[in-house]
């Protein structure tokens, strides 16, 4: 009886790991979609209202879910005006965001590179160039999201199957 219970636990554990890994793929998609919405808001605020960058970042901080601490902290640091350029602050906070909780596992290197690249191109050019740059970042991000969705469908299924099968196999080997 005990053996059976133990085997069940091992199988459930394996399947759980599989499900968790699959969830990370889904989380990455949610992160990228939120970033895409943030770029859309940036684009709109700059195009129609030429809103101050710090103000936009506060707005993004208020509206965001996963990126809330990131944008909030960048805005806070910019307001301190301690002489640090936007890009340095952005890069530091991007690193911090990518090391926080599940983001650490969900973000790929490409995602972090993309996020840092975005910060490097903010606020230091005229409006037309700024909008053009944001437009091209948005197109690139949409490509990344499509790719992530594509791979999520296959990979998530694999993760779940491998997790469950792995659990079964371990149970068979152990008991």
């Amino acid at each position: 009886m005990l053996k059976l219970a133990g085997a069940c636990l091992v199988i459930a554990g394996g399947a759980g790991i599989g499900w968790y890994m699959a969830q990370l793929y889904a989380l990455r998609i949610r992160l990228l979609r939120e970033l895409n919405q943030a770029i859309q808001l940036l684009y709109g605020e700059i195009e129609y209202a030429a809103t101050d960058m710090v103000e936009i970042l506060w707005l993004l901080g208020e509206r965001g879910e996963y990126f809330r601490p990131f944008f909030g902290q960048v805005a806070r640091s910019l307001e301190e005006r301690n002489g640090e350029p936007l890009y340095h602050i952005w890069e530091r906070e991007a690193d911090r965001l990518s090391r926080t909780g599940e983001n650490r596992l969900a973000f790929t290197r490409e995602d972090i590179r993309f996020l840092k690249g975005l910060g490097k191109n903010l606020g230091n050019v005229d409006r037309a160039t700024q909008l053009h740059t944001l437009g091209s970042f948005q197109r690139q991000l949409e490509g990344m999201i499509a790719q992530a969705e594509e791979s999520c469908r296959g990979q998530a299924k694999i993760c779940r199957v491998v997790g469950t099968v792995g659990g079964l196999l371990t149970a068979v080997l152990l008991f």
């Binding site: 809103t51 606020g123 230091n124 050019v125 700024q130």
Partner: protein, 331 residues
């Protein structure tokens, strides 16, 4: 200037400079109340205009008279400075940059120069900004004290024209006149004053809020062309007085006549170094001949010095000696 104000002014200036330039000027032993300009040019020595004299600033913040001793400004320093000047939002200052300057918190003005992008004979934008001139706001409260009795008529005002060569304090004087006319005092009621601040020099508005004190009954149209602005103020804000800086074009004068005909008193400034100089200008000369203005205030000689006040017939009401004290200077 009180210590608190001094520190605040210092902070306002330092926070828009790149970290390196900030350090250099932090070391400098200068009184920010007398700092007039900071000149930043890529590959050129860092310079300041201080107490009317030009100095080169060394790496350790010392003031030198030889450029070889000065700190040489780098491209990165200028870019960083521009990032702070624009509050990380260069795109938001496109219109201002097309006019060649940005007004920052405190009313200080950052002049920019570089490669101009021109499209159909119109300046579209500016790229490769390589030269900055940070001009510190300069408000002299009370500098119009001695002039006001000559231009006030009871609770109203004579149509007044301030004539002055560049850099002789006409804007500073006009600014204080606006403040005092608006606030009232010395037995006179305050008046609603409308200001058309085309170059953002009078109110020095930052995010729509004036950084200079223009009085409690003053409405400002910031960065607005004079001609349209004067008409708009008459229609929308019902001012008793309209103040404009640096009139001169035919359309400015037409707008002036329009507002005068509406019963609004006008105080304006114009470039010139004498009454004859103004009379000889085709557009302004007609106003003098037709006695449109009732008071002429002539500045010159040195910054802030009133040379004379004339009435509409050209009779002198006051001479330099009437404004004695501070060497005859009012601002």
């Amino acid at each position: 200037m009180k210590k608190g104000q001094h520190d605040h002014r210092r902070e306002e200036i330092l926070q828009i400079l790149s970290v390196r330039l900030r350090r250099i000027l932090e070391y400098a032993d200068i009184d920010y109340a007398h700092l007039q300009e900071i000149r930043i040019r890529i590959g050129a020595p860092l310079m300041i205009l201080y107490r009317g004299e030009e100095y080169f600033v060394t790496e350790k913040g010392g003031l030198a008279s030889h450029p070889a001793d000065a700190h040489t400004v780098t491209l990165a320093e200028l870019r960083e400075t521009m990032e702070f000047v624009s509050n990380y939002s260069l795109y938001a200052f496109e219109e201002e940059l097309r006019h060649g300057f940005v007004t920052i918190q405190g009313g200080h003005r950052v002049g920019v120069a570089g490669k101009m992008i021109v499209e159909r004979n119109q300046i579209k934008s500016i790229r490769h900004i390589s030269f900055l001139n940070i001009r510190l706001a300069h408000q002299v409260l009370g500098c119009a004290d001695r002039l006001l009795p000559y231009v006030r008529r009871g609770d109203s005002l004579y149509h007044t024209l301030i004539i002055s060569p560049p850099r002789c304090g006409k804007t500073t004087l006009l600014r204080d006149m606006i403040r005092q006319l608006s606030n009232g005092g010395n037995g006179c009621k305050g008046m609603t004053v409308g200001v058309v601040d085309e170059r953002s020099e009078l109110g020095a508005c930052y995010l729509g809020r004036p950084q200079n004190d223009l009085g409690c009954r003053t409405d400002i149209l910031d960065c607005c062309p004079k001609e349209e602005g004067m008409m708009m103020l008459v229609r929308s804000m019902a001012p008793k007085v309209i103040a404009v800086d640096e009139i001169g074009s035919r359309s400015d004068v037409e707008a002036l006549e329009y507002v005068m005909n509406c019963g609004v008193r006008v105080v304006a400034t114009v470039h010139g170094d004498s009454m004859e100089d103004i009379e000889n200008k085709p557009v302004m000369g007609r106003l003098v001949k037709e006695r449109i203005f009732q008071r002429y205030v002539l500045l010159g000689g040195q910054a802030g010095k009133i040379q004379a006040v004339f009435d509409e017939r050209g009779s002198c009401l006051a001479w330099e000696k009437d404004f004695a004290g501070m060497g005859g200077r009012v601002c």
